[in-house]
């Protein structure tokens, strides 16, 4: 009984982290689906939005506003705007000029942008950890005598917000005009362009949507962990990319599934082996999936046309 409750606790923790991986992974998978490149700077966008969330919450608290709901909504809105602006600018400066060139060129430009953003924040905000107090402490406890399972309010919020964001995104992609344009672009960008779709705009919007979801993740994880430093984007980006590949890159449900699987796998590693090996397990998983099923769990094998 105790063992199974402990297991349940780990699964809950894993699903919490996994759903935020999924939110970040959407940005990778959508950009990859449309222009076929890895946006290495996406993890840094998440990191920047966490900083913005902290700045807004700390700033408004200094002004004497203590309504939790207002703080969260304000932080979310500002973070979405700033993160989107960064992603938009990054695409304009570093990706659009190299879009027509070889894949290697775009990749190097992306990794350069990632290094640049990380160090830019490092210089502007300092390398120390910055912390904010928990806005929503507490939670529920249930279960046995030996071990009680903790489900904090924050964890529930993370599930709910992720679920809502994903539903909105799915509706947007399947129903709206821009969503249809996105799907058309991911199938055949040249053809979509010929048919009068402004592909430049669609690509920009893809970056903006990805950044907005990263900002949501930044808010959730920022409140969950309560600390931020300039290095969090690098690892979170790597994990989210792994999640995207795991689920099948280019597929949005795949990103969600991959994120959840990765989150649970990490939590279980941390619980039964050692937290030191979390990253080793997730990269090992990435290499294994590439070895046996490179198109991921929900993806389709890529057919190469000549």
């Amino acid at each position: 009984m105790e063992a199974s409750l402990y297991f349940l606790q780990q699964v809950i923790n894993g699903l919490t982290i996994g759903s935020t991986y999924a939110l970040i992974a959407i940005g990778y998978t959508m950009v990859y689906g449309i222009i076929g490149m890895i946006n290495f700077a996406h993890g840094e966008i998440y990191m920047i939005s966490t900083y913005v969330v902290f700045i807004v919450i700390a700033g408004l608290s200094m002004l004497g506003i203590d309504s939790t709901a207002f703080l969260i909504v304000a932080a979310l809105l500002v973070a979405i705007v700033v993160a989107s602006a960064h992603a938009f600018a990054v695409e304009r400066v570093a990706y659009r000029p190299v879009r027509g060139s070889k894949r290697l060129i775009a990749l190097i430009s992306a990794i350069g942008m990632s290094i640049f953003l990380q160090n830019y924040i490092l210089l502007a905000q300092g390398s120390r950890d910055k912390a904010i107090p928990s806005l929503l402490p507490g939670g529920w406890q249930f279960g046995g005598d030996g071990f009680a399972v903790n489900l904090s309010y924050m964890q529930v919020i993370i599930f709910v917000v992720t679920l809502v964001s994903m539903t909105v995104l799915a509706l947007f992609i399947s129903r709206s005009r821009l969503g249809r344009a996105c799907r058309a672009c991911s199938q055949d960008r040249g053809m979509a362009n010929l048919l009068g779709i402004n592909t430049d705009l669609v690509i920009s919007m893809t970056f903006v949507i990805g950044a907005a979801l990263a900002a949501v993740a930044g808010l959730l994880l920022g409140m969950y962990y309560g600390v931020v430093n300039p290095y969090i984007g690098f690892l979170a980006g790597l994990k989210a990319f792994t999640a995207a590949v795991l689920g099948g890159i280019g597929s949005i449900p795949g990103a969600v599934l991959g994120g959840l699987i990765l989150g649970v796998a990490e939590a279980l590693t941390g619980a039964y082996l050692s937290t030191e090996y979390n990253d080793v397990v997730s990269f090992g998983l990435l290499i294994l999936i590439l070895l046996f099923r490179p198109w991921g769990i929900l993806g389709k094998p890529e057919v190469e046309k000549i």
Partner: protein, 417 residues
């Protein structure tokens, strides 16, 4: 003009938003509280100035591009004529090598030491150039191989008492094996996956080195790694049992600089050997295949080349050079810890390759020298080093993807469109 005004306002507003959100305010810790500090008017003035500059640039962008276009047609950077002639070039190379060999006898100890480090980066740059520049595979975990090489020597020495010269071939072989095992599953896939998997590999190696404390000493690293010997002549003040020391053998006074000079010359010879091997490989069928594959995957396959095997060979050879550089690094430092093998090192080496011109050996050598000497000359620059490296990568890709000193070959190209 009117059509440009709106985008210009948009760009200026965007600049202001980006700057204000990160540069205009700063999170600061005060006791247990985190507060937001709004920077002074000077910062904000700077941000507004930046927005105005962006605004003005957006208005005249068309004209600037036309002028640049014209300038580009006019002049093109060329190597000086004396370097084009093979005989003269050989003479120049011989002179340069001679000067480099003389250098340690004239320079100070600290300068020689920095030069050794520069040569290690030259080796790393040349090795990564095979993978990224010639074969067109983005390897972001090159530092992983460097670490494997360094730790192979350090561990073989501390557990089994292997000397540098005994451990070196093993280190080279070990990293080649790692490269082979890592490349084998990934190189069958599209190039992007390689970038991310190698990035993960570099991290895994560092995490393992950090956590396998019983074997590697964890974050404490491995200390007292001996320097290489010269035909069994040791450079210590007192040689081990059964060995002779260098200064006794030649009957000169003991001088710790001898060791530094010897390491420098050793690194120089290794760097030259690596450069020469790659130079020859580039002219062999395998080297031609690397470049051909980089240019056109499908054409290569239709000509009967096995893309996986060709890529794997480049990846493995590149990795083994990193292993050799790693062993030399371990010997130079005398102490290694996982801290020396972070992602930043991979990024620095990649920046060297990108700046030098992918595929160009001379370019990579010059870039490695510039990248390692610059922080030594300008200390205050150190803080901004990584920022600049990131910026350089982006700007080089946007403006001059072929690098500052691109590889030049007679070529013909079908003009499309």
């Amino acid at each position: 003009m009117k059509g440009k005004l709106l985008p210009a306002f948009f760009a200026a507003g965007l600049t202001l938003l980006l700057g204000a959100s990160v540069l205009g305010v700063q999170l600061q810790s005060q006791g247990i509280d985190t507060v937001v500090m709004v920077h002074g008017p000077l910062t904000w003035l700077g941000l507004f100035a930046a927005a105005v500059v962006v605004f003005a640039y957006q208005l005249i962008k068309g004209r600037v591009q036309r002028v640049r276009e014209k300038a580009r047609q006019g002049s093109r950077f060329r190597l000086p004529a004396f370097l084009e002639n093979p005989a003269q070039r050989r003479l120049m190379i011989a002179l340069a090598i001679g000067a480099l060999l003389l250098f340690p006898f004239l320079a100070e100890r600290s300068a020689i030491d920095i030069a050794t480090l520069t040569l290690i980066y030259v080796m790393l740059g040349l090795g990564l150039n095979v993978v990224v520049g010639l074969a067109g595979l983005l390897d972001l975990g090159y530092v992983g191989f460097y670490a494997v090489g360094a730790y192979t020597y350090a561990l073989l020495n501390s557990y089994f008492g292997f000397s540098f010269w005994e451990a070196l071939p093993i280190a080279g072989g070990m990293t080649a094996l790692f490269g082979y095992l890592l490349g084998f599953p990934v190189l069958r896939l599209r190039g992007d996956y390689l970038a991310i998997v190698t990035l993960g590999f570099g991290e895994i190696i560092r995490i393992l080195l950090n956590n396998l404390t019983e074997i590697t000493g964890g974050p404490n690293g491995i200390a007292r790694i001996p320097e290489p010997s010269l035909f069994n002549l040791q450079f210590a003040r007192r040689a081990d049992e059964g060995y002779t020391s260098f200064h006794e053998f030649f009957g000169i006074a003991y001088d710790p600089t001898h060791k530094v000079m010897y390491l420098y010359i050793l690194s120089l010879l290794f760097a030259l050997a690596v450069a020469y091997i790659i130079y020859r490989l580039m002219r062999m069928p395998i080297g031609r295949a690397w470049e051909a594959l980089r240019e056109d995957d499908i054409a290569c396959r239709s000509l009967g080349l096995n893309p996986t095997a060709v890529k794997l060979s480049a990846f493995t050879i590149g990795a083994s050079f990193a292993g050799i550089a790693g062993s030399i690094f371990a010997a130079r430092q005398g102490f290694i810890s996982p801290l020396s093998f972070t992602f930043i090192e991979s990024a620095i080496v990649l920046a060297i390759v990108v700046l030098g011109g992918m595929g160009s050996q001379l370019g990579v050598i010059l870039a490695a020298i510039a990248m390692t000497l610059l922080p030594e000359i300008a200390r205050e620059f150190n803080e901004y080093r990584m920022l600049l490296f990131g910026l350089i990568m982006v700007l080089m890709m946007v403006w001059r993807p072929q690098g500052l000193l691109p590889l030049k070959r007679p070529q013909m190209e079908l003009k499309r469109g």
